[in-house]
Amino acid sequence: MSMNHEQIRELIHPYVDGELDLLTARETEQHLRNCSDCRGVEKALRALRETVANSQPGYRAPSHLHRNVRAALRREAKTEAFNPWFVFATGAACALVILGAVLFQTTRASRNETIVKEVIANHVRSLLATHLVDVSSSDQHTVKPWFDGKIDFAPDVRDLSKDGFPLVGGRLDYLDGKTVVALVYQRNKHPINVFVMPATANLDRSPSVVTRRGYNVLSWRHHDMKYWAVSDLNEAELRRFAEFLVQ
């Protein structure tokens, strides 16, 4: 069905703007070829568009506006960071983190304290009963193989006679609910018990000493092993011993 002159006239603008579908555009073109009146409208419209385009009437944002907008956006981003909800949420999150850390530290500290007590109890027991060692030898090549098959890890056993801490022997003991290696060394008349077990978590800090009931307990971590050394030796000597042990 063909459109009449009045209908086509309405389409000249969208035609010139390229907004018509192909079929309607072709129909409009056909009409324009035959209607000088409509051709005049089309020509005037194209001339107008050209005049407007050629005169470049568009405005460009002045440079200070670019700067002002950027500055205003920065301020806005900052205020958003300080809106009450954000502060509340951040505060709550911080509080949770701190609470968690405190709880964690407390749990860990109390757990640590339990083990220290056990370590000392083990040490004292080993001295009271004549059960200091299961394997009595200052030869590391005798002590180390003795543990084979008794535990599921291989402790590093070294005689430290030349450093003034001769190896006395080894035995199995019980610590923190696990079977552990106990190595016994001697410094002058002071026996030293060293408990060795695989380190469980990655949280253990570098050597730390606690003193309980006249005993020094030194704990550290080395090569995925957790060490507890306990003795009535003074702290400095115990530290020196630990250094020789992991050298």
Binding site: A53, P57, R60, L73
Partner: protein
């Protein structure tokens, strides 16, 4: 303490929206018809756009930003001048005269630019909007309809009427546009 000046939302906004600041100013300038009001509108629109940026779905950031600019402009116009949203225009008597040009003089671009700008500025706000978005920013009818929030048919008729008025205004000074 919380340095969010480098917030990812802000940098994303700067990347997607700020390139259209010239287009925003162009539209605001033709709608507001003076530099200061146009700057205020663009500044306000940019802040509003930033606040609503979360709801922007990322299809056409230029059209999206310009729709905020046009709404901000029309709100400001209504505040400033109650008569501004009145589209009625006497097509026989078209308001103030544009500074006439010497018929024989060769027009330099600056003069031409002033004449065309002045002619567009004499149109009602909705017509200024249609002309700016179509002739200067090259938006399609569909995009202009989305920006202005009216049907395409309305845009089509506004544009046709705006152009007829512009032709009349310019024919006084620009006989070749007739």
């Amino acid at each position: 303490m919380f340095r969010l000046t480098e917030s990812p939302r802000l940098s994303e906004f700067e990347r997607q929206v700020l390139p259209h600041l010239d287009a925003a100013y162009n539209l605001a300038r033709f709608l507001m018809r003076n530099d200061q009001d146009a700057e205020d509108v663009v500044q306000e629109a940019a802040l509003r756009a930033f606040r609503f940026f979360g709801s922007f779905r990322g299809e056409n950031s230029r059209a999206w930003f310009l729709s905020i600019v046009r709404n901000t402009s029309f709100t400001a116009l209504k505040r400033h001048r109650a008569d501004e949203d009145n589209v009625s225009f006497d097509e026989e008597l078209h308001g103030e005269k544009i500074s006439p040009m010497d018929a024989g003089a060769i027009l330099d671009r600056a003069q031409d630019q002033q004449t065309v700008r002045a002619a567009i500025e004499q149109l009602p706000a909705e017509f200024r909007e249609a002309i700016t978005l179509r002739e200067l920013e090259g938006f399609s009818y569909k995009e202009i309809a989305d920006i202005a929030g009216v049907p395409i048919g309305t845009i089509m008729s506004r544009l046709a009427r705006a152009r007829r008025q512009l032709q009349m205004l310019l024919s006084e000074t620009h006989p070749e546009a007739k």
